[in-house]
Homo-oligomer: 123 residues x 2
DNA sequence: GCAACTGTATCTGTTGTATAATACAGTTGA
DNA sequence: TCAACTGTATTATACAACAGATACAGTTGC
């Protein structure tokens, strides 16, 4: 069963997108693997204190990407080939890198300054 | 006069917030300094192809943060003490660092792996 | 069979974003 | 002075995103 223990909602970003992101990061980390059971819409909605439709919206996105499968009446499970999981990881890493690099560059930082910044805030 | 030459709108983020971000990054980079003239609402709206109200919404936010000042009938200018500019820079850097670090950590990367990633994508 | 779960579909309402059309008032400079 | 710019304010409209309420339908296990 996929864990939402360390899920910390952040305002300014739609909840359903944060749910998608949380699961994708789990896939990238390898803590979410093929065949893992996904919490039901009602269970997760109660856990997070949101509407079941909000969960459904997130799950539909994951299904459209082929990362999970649902069937009326039955539980839902992750559907992850090795290649698909690796692709998710690459996508997230690339997006993160691109976003932060663009931003830091626009602020005039050099590569070394950027690396020092990340190192300083890593803790 | 503040330049919008390298302003590249990105979908998914409200235009007025992108304008605020663009100017703040200029402040952080030192390319926008105290006393710099800000394009008028009408001029910038024509340049970007958006409604004047959208520009106004961005400028109101900047005014509320004390980064610029407007007076009816006159042009608008940046109002930046050295400390204020430094604070804007620190805030943007900290937010960028925090966002990317949180994400990479959730994907299971170590500090060195994160640094290598940034270096690899910097180009 | 049936209770208790599962996913699915539809409708409603609020909010944010952006546009449009004006109107009014203050300043600046020739 | 006065034309041409500035900022400011109001009202209306449209649309999409987001989330909530509710009802319906399929499965699973006893």
């Amino acid at each position: 069963m996929i864990s939402f223990e360390h899920f910390t909602p952040e305002e300014g970003i739609p909840i359903y997108l944060q749910i998608v992101r949380h699961i994708k990061r789990g896939v990238a980390a390898g803590t979410v693997v093929h065949g893992d059971e996904v919490p039901s819409r009602r269970v997760l909605s109660a856990l997070l204190g949101v509407n079941p439709n909000t969960i459904q919206k997130a799950y539909v996105l994951l299904e459209e990407e082929g990362l999970m499968a649902s069937h009326a009446g039955a539980k839902s499970y992750m559907t992850l080939t090795d290649g698909r999981a690796a692709a998710v990881r690459e996508e997230l890493l690339r997006n993160d890198a691109r976003a932060v690099i663009d931003s830091l560059r626009q602020m005039g930082l050099s590569k070394n300054e950027a690396l020092s910044l990340i190192e300083a805030y890593w803790e």
